[in-house]
Structures are given as structure tokens and as C-alpha cells.
Amino acid sequence: MQVSKRVAITGNEAVAEAMRQINPDVVAAYPITPQTEIVQFFADFVSDGKVDTEFVTVESEHSAMSATVGASAAGARAMTATSSQGLALMWEVLYIASGLRLPIVAPVVNRALSAPINIHCDHSDTMGARDSGWIQIYSEDAQEAYDNLIQAVRIAEHPDVLLPTMVTMDGFIVSHGMGNAKLLNDDVVKKFVGEYEPEHYLLDVENPITVGALDFSDWYFEHRRQLADAHTKVKDVVLQVAKEFKEISGREYNLFDAYRLDDAEVAIVVINSAAGTAKTVVDELREKGLKVGLLKIRLFRPFPHKEIAEALSGKKAVAVLDRADSLSLMGGPLYIDLRAAMYDSPGPRVKMVNYIYGLGGRDINMEQIAGVYDDLMEIAKTGEITQPVTYLGVRE
């Protein structure tokens, strides 16, 4: 195993370090809180000659994603980074990146969408982009954000995949919170990500191609079908890349993280930083002899529904914690997906409830999560669900 160094680092610093080590050909980005520092640190690396990157300062996120698409189509390893309104402004170009099968990698620092205007964390930005054809990988802390970003390059560029990939972490909680992380040596990352060698690219003047041609009712459907097929390949590539990453880092990654889940009778499903808080609650309740567990989503798009359903089958009650609302009146986006996944799970139907929490950066604490486990144990006992969707931590 390679030597790595342990540092005190914020999520933004860790992600910027990963980008420096990846040393992409092109970065086009626009600053937005709480992502700003990533771009700021990276601009320093460019100015100081620490990367070979062509850094394109653009006038908006729409232009940032457009320039990244252009660079990627030209044959470059291209990256950008954003948050919230910035991701919203990239929207139409997100679909172009995936439709053109460009393996762009972008860290996204989760922040609430306006209105009301708010700069703090929730997942409404990336959840809104869940159908855009991008791979979405979520990160609990700075370590995971760093590790996931490095792995994302290999996942996105894999010949079976060729899909843009966003790696998320929670705004401020992780992006600005100082944490403990182990960083890999530069040469190790350089070797791991390797050179990007696209099969077809615009700057290949010997083999001219057309990118973005008109595609009417005669072929559009077939190209969208290809996109769906590419997503079926992602799961195996994610696992293969994780296996190789373990060899250089010693750190283990999967499609999701099952924490004390095997023998648990009730479980919480959660994404990103709240999983850290919830694991501490699991440990405390386990000490009291309660059979509680947790499932933390890592790969959200494509959704590893079969594996998740298997992991949760046989549980007496499951609570899904959503840091975004779908406004469908059926709960948050993660809950809706989970319920669909569990429809075909073997055995008796698992009782499921949803808690929408933390919108606009509202804290979620250990007492609240312990309260969710209390509710689950009551549901497990009685078999009754009195309230399928609860807004957790809102003032009534």
C-alpha cells in the first residue's frame, strides 16, 4: 500500500486537492457559495503553475457547463464545480453533457434552492438533477468527497459508461467544516486516473466527426435508449473502480454503506453528512441492546435498487430521511425511490416512513434521530403507521 498523509482539511480544500492531483486539461467554473473556495483554490493552483489546466473564467454557470461540454467534446478531460442556483442555471446543458456521452466530472456542494434565498445545505439542487442522465455519487465527509472525486474520473471515462458524473457533499457542514482526512500522494493519484483517451473527439483532425447533430423522431429514441443502457453498466464499474481504489488507499467503498444493518430490525436510510450523526445514534442505541441499523446511499444515480431492496428486506420498519422535498405529497425523492425499490422485495412488505429534515441548513441532531428510531420501534411493535411523511425539526 502507498503512503498517504493525514491532514486536517475542509471538504472544499480536499476536493480542490483532488482536482489538483487529477490535473484536468480544462476547468471552466463560476464561483457560488458554498462551492466558491474550490474554484478559488484551484485558480491558485493554475496561477502557481501546479497544474497544466486551461482555466476558463466564464460569466455564468450556463457558460461554465457549456465550455466544459465543448472542451470534453474536443477531447479534453474537463471539469467544473457548482452549487444550488449554479446547478440550476446549468440545467439544460446537464442534459447535453449526458446526451452527448461526455465524461465530465463535477463536484457539487449541496445547497438549498431559492426562494427564499438561502446559502445553506439541503439536497434540492442535486435531487432536481437526478433525471439529467448524470451519475450521482454522494459523500458523507471530506474524505469521501476526495475519494469519490478521484474514483469518479475512472467511472465516468470507463468505455462501458461514458457518462458525466457529479460528486456531492453537504454545503458548509462538510465543505467548510474542518475534518480529518488521508490524502494520497500526487503520483499515486496520477497513475490511478491515468490519461484520458477518448475514442472520438473533435480535435482528432484525421478523423473528423460531427457532435450535436439534429436527431429527430427517426433516431432520438435510439440514442436515449443507449443512455439508459449505459446506466445499467455503471454499477459494476463503480464496484471495480472501488476495488482498485482500495488497493491504493486501503479505504473501502460500495454502492451504499450498510452500518450495523445485517441483524437490525429497524433501519434509517440517509444520504451525506447526516449519516455521520445517525451512526453515532445507532452505536448508542446498540449499547442499550436495540437492534437498529443504517443504510447510507453512495450511488444514487443510477439507483442500485435491487441491492438496496435486498439489504432492507426483512426489516420490520424503515425510515427514509430526505434533505429535499419532492412536493408530490408522497414524500421526498429518496423515499419515493426506496418505496418503488421495495415493492418487489422478497418477504412481507416492509413498513416505511419518511422524514423530511434539514431544509435550508436546519440542523438535525442526535435526539431527533433517536426519536426517529423510537417511532420505528413503535411501528415495528404495532404494525401501524400514523404519519407516513413527517417534517422533522420544523417549528409548528
Binding site: 446526451g99 452527448l100 456521452r101 461526455l102 461514458l162 472520438h200 478523423n207 473528423p208 466527426i209 460531427t210 457532435v211 450535436g212 447533430a213 436527431d215 427517426d218 433516431w219 429514441f221 435510439e222 440514442h223 435508449r225 443507449q226 443502457d229 449505459a230
Partner: protein
């Protein structure tokens, strides 16, 4: 469309086109509702229609206009509008390619 017998596994990903000049294979003539009908007798071969045609559908042979490429003509009517001698008329297309003019 000529290639619909192929499926989604048979074509380049992302809508990429891997060869030059492939627009020729994309026959846009069936987009047309009205078609230009050329009166060879009135034509002076000034080539103004050839200059204006956005789809390169005015056919030329030995320096003279020889007809209209109905496989690609979208029926925009620019040729009829620009013709100084009014020898191109737009008529409702009945779907029978090549019945007017000396084109394909």
C-alpha cells in the same frame, strides 16, 4: 428514412456522426408541403436560385440548371421568390417525387 432497420445497438453513441458529408444521405424532401416547379423554357440560367438555395438542391450540369433535387429540397420557396423571370412556381406537393423538372 433509409436506415430504420438498424437498432440502438448499431449506431454511434451520443448521436455522433463519424463520417463527413453524411447530410447527403439524410433525405429531407419529405418535409416538404409545396414543391418548386421549374419552367425550363423561361429560364435564362442566371443561377440566382442556385446561389440562394439553402439546401444545395438546384442541380447544375455543364454550367446550366438541369433540375431540382427533390430528395433534399425542403420546399422553402426561396428559389421561386428570388427568380427574376418567375420561372419557378411553388405548387402543392402530391408526394410524387420527380414529376416536375429534370431532377432525380
Amino acid at each position: 428514412m433509409s436506415a430504420v432497420e438498424k437498432g440502438w445497438k448499431d449506431v454511434p453513441i451520443g448521436g455522433l456522426i463519424l463520417e463527413a458529408g453524411s447530410a447527403k444521405k439524410y433525405e429531407t424532401g419529405d418535409w416538404r408541403t409545396h414543391k418548386p416547379v421549374w419552367d425550363k423554357e423561361k429560364c435564362s440560367n442566371c443561377m440566382i436560385c442556385w446561389i440562394y438555395c439553402p439546401d444545395a438542391s438546384i442541380l447544375i450540369k455543364d454550367g446550366e440548371m438541369s433540375g431540382i433535387d427533390y430528395k433534399h429540397c425542403k420546399g422553402c420557396g426561396i428559389c421561386a421568390h428570388e427568380c427574376p423571370r418567375k420561372c419557378i412556381e411553388m405548387v402543392l406537393d402530391t408526394g410524387e417525387n420527380g414529376e416536375a423538372g429534370a431532377g432525380e
